[in-house]
Amino acid sequence: MDVDRRTLIGRALRPATYTVTEVDVNDFLGVVDEPGFAATRNESSSSEMTASAKGGARLAPPSFAPFVAVLGLLKTFDWQDDFLFDYRTGTAMFGEQSIEFHRPLRVGESVAISAAISDVYEKQGKRRFDVIEVSFQISGSEEGDRLMSGQQSYILFK
């Protein structure tokens, strides 16, 4: 019998944080070569990096933003408890992602992610599936100013 996930609408997911580390951004730039956002070599002085980032010295490229949204959101929910979904046996995939950018993302900064399930509906393609829409906001965890906001949908096959 199918689970009724519409009861999940309105559920606030757990708050999470993520630090935009030099290591993550450098590894990313090693794959997605971005003109104007060269990887740095010195990853050991993380506190210095953080300080300079506060002064706006180094920005992450916008192409890193979907990574922050995806991995930040994955920290806000449990597939079973929050989506009533067994990830070991079921199939899930990303649906649609929309992001509004409020300011650039700085390397070294910590961000806070808050999210809630804004909608759930069933669709029929080759197979039936539920779409879970999650609204999120990502803020600078120290200054509390908005960095990004948007929506991410997850497709859960039945």
């Binding site: 993550d24 590894d27 794959v31 997605v32 971005e34 890193f64 979907p66 990303f94 649609e96 929309s98």
Partner: protein
Amino acid sequence: MKEAVSQPFFQDLAVGMRLPTVELGPMDRFDYIPIALILRDTNPLHLDRVYAQERGLPDVVQQGPLNQAYLYRYFTSWLHDPWDLIATKMRFAANVFPDDVLQCGGEILELVEAPAGSGVVNCAVWQRNQAGETILTGEASARIPSRPMSTSVTHTSPAP
């Protein structure tokens, strides 16, 4: 319809103009390892070919955020400043596999002028594979500066 040059000024743009098309690839399966580490996502679907083939797929699946990152890079490198980006909306339509060659493109859907002559552009953006199958489709909007006013004075000599 005309193609919109890179780093355009608002006055140079028109609805219906295409963005320059860019080809990327071939995609490299070894790139999926650092991406899995960044995403903290060690799903074997992205890393283990046998596991992927047991599930009816031809090979491991490239991570969706990596596909997005290539489309973001494509669009933001067209701008004067990548962080002129205002918003994106992207829908995943199909998977990318190792050795795929991706093509990114776009078209101007809307232009909204701001008081100083600069403005906002809203574009359709897409990513396709070598077979023409759509991988990602969506929209992206960004701020576009106005053409700077020329400060030089041009003197014209009378014809001899």
